[in-house]
Amino acid sequence: MNELDRVVVLAGGLSAEREVSLRSGERVRDALAEAGIDATVADADADLLTQLHADPPSAVFPVIHGASGEDGAIREVLGLLGTPYVGSQASACQMAFDKPVAKALVSAAGLTTPQSVTLPRETFHDLGATAVIDLIIARLGLPLYVKPSRGGSALGAGPVRDGAELPAALLSCFAYGDIALIERFIPGTEVAVGVIDLGAGPQALPAVEIVPSDDGYDYAARYTAGKTEFYVPARLPAGAAAEVARIAVAAHSVLGLRDLSRTDLIVDEQGTAFFLEVNVSPGMTETSTLPMALEASGHSFGTTCVRLLELAADRGA
């Protein structure tokens, strides 16, 4: 086993999720400190490569959310440097971070995901937004859920209950990216299932049920302590609990992910579990579900982070 002489937690970045990432980074660093590992937090900025060259780390723990953190770009650079890192490789991230691509891949593997369409803003412009919107509603019905094809933390995402709300929802979505994923909204129990691989293959953690207090699981609900209630494990029938675990592990495997991931799902009233999206760099803040599930299942958050770093260091670049 390699010694973890120097550990870098990579946090920040330039996406709209920078603040969340910085909070995740601090939490991982603190958890590592409690487990006896002295880590430094570094941003993905112009000084990063100089730092990594000057004092190569035993391993890097990337917790940059959103673009560059989850689209594989930073991991590609870490690969070029020969720096070991925790988490999925760049090629897998590229597929997982693009929600329509991930949906297509898991769907082809037999998993259920809400019916959807993916459209760039230029299409609305070129063909006429009203006509395209009418087609979407005629095809998918209502309610809908609109989100940017890439990104997280529900930024630019929201439900559409009435057709008249769809243009505004698309405007919000296009503020965060040029391609919209428009899904049928599935009412039901929202759960997040972490998957962790500590050397014995990917294992699902207990599902975390998310119950926002009022306006849905939006940005404020995600990052304001107390605005959302979480049940661990989720209050699901045994069959549904097993099914969401199976889907999370299957998505992790189908997309070729490594070490850890978090899959978001909805279980409808009939007990059908729908894959929504997967996160290759799940939130690690005090309101994030993956650390919650780890602790609830008897894993120490800090010890788990150390183990993931050890595996990365052993694996090498």
Binding site: A16, D45, H125, L171
Partner: protein, 425 residues
Amino acid sequence: MTADEQPASQLQRIDPYVGQYAERAVGMVASEIRALFAVAARPEIVSLAGGSPYVTALPLDAVGEMIGQLVADRGDTALQYCTAQGDAGLRERICDVMALEQIRAHPDEIVVTVGSQQALDLLTRIFIDPGDVILAEAPSYVGALGAFASYQAHVVHVAMDDDGLIPEAVEEAVERTAAAGRRAKFLYTVPNFHNPAGVTLAAERRNRILDICHRAGVLVVEDNPYGLLGFDGEPMRPMRADDDEGVVYLGTFSKTFSAGVRVGWAVAPPAIKDKLILAAESAVLCHSAFSQLTVREYLATQPWQEQIKTFREIYRERRDATLDALASLMPPGCRWTRPRGGLFVWLTLPEGVHAKAMLPRAISSRVAYVPGTGFYADGSGGQYARLCYSLPSPDRIREGIRRLASVIETEIQLRDDFGPAPGTR
């Protein structure tokens, strides 16, 4: 343990006190806008957001030496408690500063505060019960609105034009408030180089507004952080120079010396001053003696008036760069104010374009501004953006405005495709 071995479900409350907060804390939640501003701090972003003074222009070595000497010579005072009213020597110096703007005040009329923000907080604390009315410009300073909201004030915005507050609008707001069976407790105004609007209250309007407020028994709170940062001619005569009974005057060293020392002040009629001192005692016991003596020493030993001229010239150059870039780059439908001092330009976006909705795209394009919604108590003002030119160099300002123009052009296309953004109709 894995999902196959599930224990009983447990409710996880991240905040066990969630049901115990005061009503005024309900709105204190994480926000997307705050998250976006976290990105704006990165050097890749041209930030026209901020509002911070360009302290890099200070003689930092000399200030550092001065502070070292202060601690060596008078550390026993600088590192000790002091009175809630503030250091007497500093208050004398503050009178010298205000004399530049024709205010004649006695040191005993002054209460030193933690920036003028604390003065706003204390004034609101001693005057406002939940639901009481405060008149404020439309738009108004976001920090003041935050203080007013924390005491659950009802803010009635009053219209401005290029010459600042419109006296007839003040009168109408006073009358409308009275007709509703209420009385406005005070009028809050930033008359010089307004934050965020960049306009200045015309001299001939000042006494008219004082007269309207005097007749209605409405106190005037005159907040003047930028008065010495005018680009043309002599400083405008503050309202406090003509009325020492109906005006509470707020000043600060944040823009003329250092925002980091957090030293501001209030000049108030005796009864109000006494309550401010008591309120300050209960809030902070006393303000930092170290900060106060630092400012006092700065005023006594450094060429502070020359430094203000330096700031003025830097901001004038950056204002010019901003206005030139706006004129040459902004798409049709945009309008903006032309400040004669201070730090801010107020940009009106084309119809149907919402500044808050546009911000994520702007950040992705690596330019930041403050959406107008923060400057209205009811969250309206989406068609406006505040641009601050104090920190970026003229070249960076031009690049930032080039990026912003491109973002606005995309928003115009989105508006044409999807209709006006909500909140702009």
